[in-house]
């Protein structure tokens, strides 16, 4: 029997019970739709995190005290592992492939203008703004003169401005940081969030001022910008060599932006797989629905099978007919499911605008293929059952 005839017979069978076919298909539609939607969330989160990490600044290298792994911020309080402003200066002076070094002494502190709040105070150098891609909206960023002169000046982030100076111009006002006076010399451009961190809820002061404010020489981290993207690995090597020479041991960790990116991509990749897997289960349930309905159909149409066999249908003709029906359900359901997935993702965007979603072609392909496989797998048993019916008993069936 030709494929075309078989397809026609299968389609005829499905159309003769439209409601049932549609409901069975619904299982596949929901399954494929949710696979595509959930994977789009995973992929969206992945790309959003990637772009946020890339937004940290270009050609970025991160040096942290201790031998901690990439991106892990070791406590600044330990006096054992000392990474200092002088180390930063040494790197900046001696490493040819390094363009800028921005050491940061960071701690939370209580700040007050009229009202007060606790925020992150970062003692840093003039390079910070360039290295981290931050820019000043009004006034100036910290200058080398401020650092050399230990001047009590502060540059505030956008969140701090909104919360403490709503409607007022904060420039030249005096801000209390841990009860000490700082003159506000600049306000930063709004930067947004990196992952969960609000980059605008902070105050920048000269690193030398921070050393005395927090009574420590230890920097929390050091951002290093290489001369060019190609120079990143050279810059990493030079940084390691210079600081190790000064410390006589490797009591710090150097990580590239790439390492951080890889670490997060590993996490988000797992997230995507997990979401896809959960949705895959619903597709599997849809497959069980197909099997269930096909078994009912085979029983209902026992007599038809008997008639077909009596006029010369072979086992494989019957097998093919019913297998094609379940494949039809899964294929057609899969196609509609792709539409449902794309529609669902759009709807999700409307309901939760902050949730990043990206529909990737591979997820559509995978979901559709999986649906076909489900149809094939769960169709085999009912089709075999139909094919193996004895024609006499099938004809006698009431």
């Amino acid at each position: 029997m030709k494929l075309f005839e078989a397809l026609k017979i299968a389609l005829h069978g499905l159309l003769s019970n439209k409601m049932r076919s549609l409901l069975t298909m619904l299982g596949v539609i929901i399954g494929v739709g949710s696979v595509i939607t959930l994977i789009s969330i995973g992929e969206g989160v992945k790309s959003s995190i990637s772009s946020q990490i890339q937004g940290l600044g270009s050609n970025l290298i991160l040096v942290t005290p201790g031998s901690g792994k990439a991106g892990v911020n070791v406590s600044t309080l330990g006096a054992v592992n000392r990474l200092t402003y002088d180390d930063a200066l040494a790197v900046e002076r001696n490493a040819d492939s390094v363009k800028n070094v921005a050491p940061v002494i960071e701690s939370s502190a209580y700040i007050q203008y009229k009202t007060g709040k606790t925020t992150l105070v970062s003692g840093t150098t003039e390079s910070y703004a360039e290295v981290r891609n931050f820019s000043v909206k009004s006034g100036d960023f910290i200058s080398r003169g401020d650092i050399r002169g230990y001047r009590p000046v502060a540059v505030i982030g956008d969140t701090v401005r909104q919360e403490l100076f709503s409607g007022q111009n904060p420039l030249n006002k005096t801000l209390l940081i841990n009860s000490k006076d700082y003159e506000i010399i600049g306000v930063m451009e709004k930067k947004g969030r990196t992952l969960t961190i609000d980059n605008d809820d902070r105050v920048f002061i000269p690193i030398t001022a921070a050393e005395s404010l927090f009574n420590t020489k230890q920097v929390s981290m050091m951002f290093i910008q290489s001369e060019s993207p190609k120079a990143v690995s050279t810059a990493v090597d030079e940084t390691k060599r210079i600081i190790t020479d000064r410390h006589k041991k490797m009591d710090f960790a150097v990580s590239e932006q790439k390492d951080i990116l890889n670490a997060f991509q590993g996490i988000t990749g797992t997230l995507t797989q997990m979401l896809g897997g959960i949705a895959g289960v619903s597709l599997l349930v849809g497959g069980i629905g197909i099997m269930n309905i096909m078994l009912v159909t085979v029983t209902e149409r026992t007599r038809e099978i008997g008639i077909r066999k009596s006029v010369g249908a072979k086992r494989r003709d019957i097998m093919f007919q019913f297998l094609l029906e379940s494949m039809f359900i899964s294929a057609f359901g899969g196609l509609l499911g792709i539409g449902a997935g794309i529609g669902g993702t759009r709807m999700l965007k409307d309901i939760v605008p902050k949730l990043p979603t990206i529909i990737s072609p591979w997820s559509i392909g995978v979901a559709f293929l999986f649906a076909l496989l489900v149809g094939l797998f769960f169709g085999i048993y009912p089709a075999r059952k139909a094919a193996r019916l004895s024609p006499i008993e099938a004809l006698r069936y009431e």
Binding site: I9, G312, L395
Partner: protein
């Protein structure tokens, strides 16, 4: 030839020591009360079933040795069935029902439609080819079934109580059709318990409790036999 159902102690003999030869061109009636085994015999003649013991040869082929697929091909090419309850596909048109055996024979669509239409015309249903079984009377349904049985030019036409669900007039028409077909060379085997129907046949075989009690057939030389059951 014997046919048993079940196994061990629950074994039931449906047919016992049947010895039968059917010659091409014959019109035979198999008669007997219900439960006598006449339907079982017909199933075996029609290659829907195989004997448990003994040999059944169809056109010189030993049916016992054939597998399911070979039986299906045999039924498709050489056997036409007409059933008491018509056994038409309820959701397909008369034309589609008649075309069915041709689909499994791999005949292309245009030829299928031509052949099926011709046959429906022959049984007098030219105006009804696009009607579904539910829109046809019993007699018309049975004529569709006869057309379907003939569509592959079978060697033998098997009819199991073909008039059982028909009124007298329709039944008579169907019987007339069978006789016409027989007159042009089609071998016809009727299974019935109605004397009236059986009277149309030249040869009548009575079965009781799975065994042949009488057979008025004329034995011929073995060499001329085409269908035989030993």
């Amino acid at each position: 030839m014997d046919k048993y159902y079940g196994r061990g102690s629950s074994k039931v003999a449906a047919l016992k020591k049947i010895n039968l030869e059917i010659t091409p061109g014959e019109i035979i009636a198999i008669m007997g009360p219900s439960g006598s085994g006449k339907s079982t015999l017909m199933n075996i003649i029609g290659c829907l079933d195989k004997p448990t013991k003994g040999i059944y040869e169809f056109n010189g082929r030993k049916v016992n040795t054939l597998n399911d697929n070979q039986l299906a091909v045999l039924r498709n090419k050489h056997i036409g069935f007409v059933f008491q309850n018509f056994n038409l596909l309820p959701r397909s048109t008369a034309l589609a029902n008649v075309e069915l055996p041709l689909i499994y024979a791999g005949v292309p669509g245009s030829k299928r439609r031509r052949v099926a239409t011709e046959l429906l015309e022959m049984v007098g249903l030219k105006e009804r080819i696009y009607h579904k079984p539910s829109e046809l009377s019993g007699g018309q349904k049975q004529r569709v079934a006869v057309a379907r049985a003939l569509v592959n030019h079978p060697s033998i036409l098997l009819a199991d109580e073909p008039t059982g669900n028909l009124d007298t007039r329709s039944g008579a028409e169907i019987m007339k059709l069978f006789k016409t077909l027989n007159s042009i060379g089609v071998t016809v085997v009727l299974v019935t318990h109605e004397k009236e129907v059986a009277s149309h046949a030249r040869r009548i075989i009575y079965i009781r409790d799975g065994a042949i009690v009488s057979d008025n057939g004329i034995r011929k030389n073995r060499r001329e036999q085409r269908f035989e059951i030993v």
